[in-house]
C-alpha cells in the first residue's frame, strides 16, 4: 500500500524526515511511534499526498503522490493531528459536505452520514453545531469524517490524543473492526499501549530517522528483557543505590525518579536487592513494553 525509499522532507534548511524506508502491506495496521518532533506527522502528510516529498521515492496505493495526488486522496481517509472540522456546521452537515468532495451523490452522503454518526456514537448530536461539542466528540467526528469515502488506507495522526480512556477503547474497537473489514491502517502515536494494542508492525522514529522496525513483540524481544524491575527511592538515596544494584540486571537505566533493572525475572532481582540491604520506597515488577524499547534505542523516555 505504501512504499518509501530514502524518503526525505525538508523545511528550508531543516530536515524533518531524514531518509526513511517503509513498506506497509495491505490489510495491516502499521504504526509510527516516536517523541515530539520525530517527524511522524511530516511523514504522514507525505503519504496523505498533501505535502510533496523533498527527496527519495514514495508510492501510495501504487501511485506517485506528486503526479496522481488527487487520485490517491480519493481513496484515502485522513485524520489530521489537529481537528479541522467546520465548526459552524452541524455534525451531519460536516459529514455530508465533506463526502461530496469525493464525488459522492447527495443521496449517498445522506445515507453515509447516518451510518457514520452511528459508528461514532454521535447520533444524538446529529443536528447540533460542532463548535460546542467536547474535544472527544470532535475527535470522533473527525475520524467518522475520514471514513466517508470508504477508504482503502486510513491515516490516523495521534487519533486518541485528548480522548478519555473510555473513548480511546471505543476507538480502538472501531479501528479493529475496520481492520477486519480489510482497511489498511497507519497510526502515529506516542502512547506505547496504543501501539502495542493496535499495530501489527511499527517503526520507532527519532530525530527524523527510523531507529527500529518490527512487531511490538519482536521489538521487545530484540531490545529488552522479559521483565523490568522498577525501584523508587527517597530523594537523595537513589545515587547510592545505583552502584549496589547495577549488576543485578542485564542492563540498568537510571531515570531522574527511578531505577529500571532489565532482567528475565524481576522478582528474583528484587529479592537479591533486598538481600543487599537496598531499601527502595517502592518497587514494581512488570513486563517490558515499547517504552523500554524506546528508552534503549534513544536513551530518552517517550512521554516525559
Amino acid at each position: 500500500m505504501v512504499e518509501a525509499k530514502a524518503l526525505v522532507k525538508r523545511f528550508g534548511e531543516f530536515e524533518a524526515v531524514r531518509g526513511i524506508d517503509l513498506h506497509v502491506r495491505k490489510g495491516e495496521a502499521f504504526g509510527f511511534l516516536g517523541p515530539n518532533g520525530a517527524g511522524k506527522s511530516s511523514t504522514m502528510r507525505m503519504i496523505a499526498c498533501v505535502s510533496p516529498r523533498s527527496d527519495g521515492e514514495l508510492t501510495v496505493l501504487g501511485m506517485d503522490p506528486d503526479r496522481e495526488g488527487p487520485r490517491v486522496r480519493a481513496r484515502l481517509g485522513v485524520v489530521p493531528q489537529q481537528d479541522n472540522l467546520d465548526t459552524e456546521l452541524t455534525v451531519r452537515q460536516n459529514l455530508q459536505v465533506y463526502g461530496r468532495y469525493f464525488g459522492l451523490s447527495r443521496a449517498h452522503v445522506r445515507r453515509k452520514a447516518v451510518e457514520l454518526m452511528e459508528f461514532a456514537q454521535l447520533t444524538e448530536r446529529a443536528d447540533d453545531e460542532v463548535e460546542p461539542l467536547s474535544g472527544g466528540m470532535k475527535r470522533r467526528l473527525t475520524i467518522a469524517r475520514s471514513l466517508v469515502n470508504d477508504p482503502e488506507l486510513l491515516l490516523l495522526d495521534e487519533p486518541t490524543t485528548g480522548l478519555d480512556p473510555q473513548a480511546r477503547h471505543l476507538l480502538w474497537d472501531r479501528l479493529f473492526r475496520l481492520k477486519s473489514a480489510g482497511v489498511t491502517l497507519i497510526v502515529t502515536t506516542h502512547y506505547m499501549d496504543e501501539a502495542e494494542q493496535l499495530c501489527d508492525r511499527l517503526v520507532v522514529m527519532d530525530g527524523g530517522r527510523v531507529v527500529a522496525e518490527g512487531s511490538p513483540a519482536e521489538l521487545i524481544a530484540r531490545y529488552s528483557t522479559r521483565e523490568v524491575l522498577e525501584l523508587r527511592f527517597a530523594p537523595g538515596d537513589q545515587e547510592a543505590a545505583v552502584a549496589r544494584v547495577t549488576d543485578l540486571g542485564e542492563r540498568v537505566e537510571v531515570l531522574p525518579d527511578r531505577i529500571l533493572l532489565y532482567t528475565a525475572t524481576g522478582e528474583a532481582a528484587l529479592e537479591q536487592a533486598h538481600g543487599r540491604g537496598v531499601r527502595p520506597l517502592s518497587s514494581l515488577v512488570r513486563r517490558s513494553t515499547l517504552e523500554d524499547v524506546f528508552l534503549r534505542l534513544t536513551g530518552r523516555t517517550l512521554v516525559d
Binding site: 523545511f11 490489510g27 496523505a48 498533501v50 505535502s51 510533496p52 495526488g69 488527487p70 487520485r71 486522496r73 480519493a74 481513496r75 484515502l76 485522513v78 489530521p80 489537529q82 479541522n84 472540522l85 467546520d86 465548526t87 459552524e88 456546521l89 452537515q93 455530508q96 459536505v97 465533506y98 461530496r100 468532495y101 469525493f102 464525488g103 459522492l104 449517498h108 469515502n149 470508504d150 477508504p151 482503502e152 473489514a181 480489510g182 482497511v183
Partner: protein, 267 residues
Amino acid sequence: MAVVSSGRVVGSWRAAWLRVEGHWTWYRRYWRSNLYSSGLQPLLYLLAMGIGFGSQVEPGPATGGLSYVHYVAPALLVAGAVQYAVGESTYPVLSGFKWQKDFIAVTSTPVTAGQVLGGQLIWVAIRLVLSGVVYLLIAWPFGAWLNAGAIAVVLVGAVTGMACAAPLMAIAATTYDEGSRFTSIFRFIVMPMLLFAGTFFPIEQIPAAIRWLAWISPLWHGNELARGVTLGGLDLLPALGHLAFLAALFAAGGLAARHCFYRRLVV
C-alpha cells in the same frame, strides 16, 4: 478482504462548484444577517448621500444634467460591491488557512488548492450578484433608477468586486499573522478609493497631479461603466478600456492567488 473505496476525483469546475455548495450549506444557516447587512449599508448611503445630501445639489454639468440621486445610485452599488468583495476576500480567506482551516481539510480530499481558490472566487461572485440585486430592489422605490440599465449595474458591480477580490485573496494567502495588514488596506486603500474614485463626485475635481490615483483604482473604472450602462454618455471604446482594466486586474490577481494558494497549502 478487498475494500474498494467509493471516492473518486471530480473535474475541476465540478470541484469548485462543490466548494460553492459547501459555502451554501453554511450560508443557509446565516443568510438572514448576511443579506440584511449587505443590503442595508448601501441603502443608508443612498438615503444620506443620494437623497439627503443630494437635495442640496443642483443638477449641473458635473452630474451630466441629472439629479444627484440618479448620478450617485449606480456608483453606490459598485462601491458597495467593492467593499463587500474586500470583506469577503480578506478575513474569511485567512480563516480558511488559519482559524477554521477548512482549506486544509478540503485539500486532503481529491479537491486541489487551485479548485479551492476557484470555489472561493465563484462564491464571492455569487454573493456580489445577490447583494447587488438586493440593493437594486431596495433602491427602486426611492426612485434611484432611471431605466432597466440598472440591472446591468449589478453585473458591473460584480465584475468590479471580483477585480478587487482576486488580488486580495493572494494577499490573504500570504498573511500569517492575525491580519493586521487588512486594517491598513482598508484604511489606506479602500477608504480613500471609496471617497475619491468618482463615486460621489467626478474625478475631474481632483488635482491633475494626483488624478492618476483614481485612474488606477478599480472602483473608478467600475463607476464609469456603471454610469455608462444606465445613464448613457459612455462610448464603446472607453467602455471596453474600463472592462479590460478590470479583467486584467482580475486575471493578474487570480494567477497570483493561485500561486499563493498552492504555496500555502502544499508544504
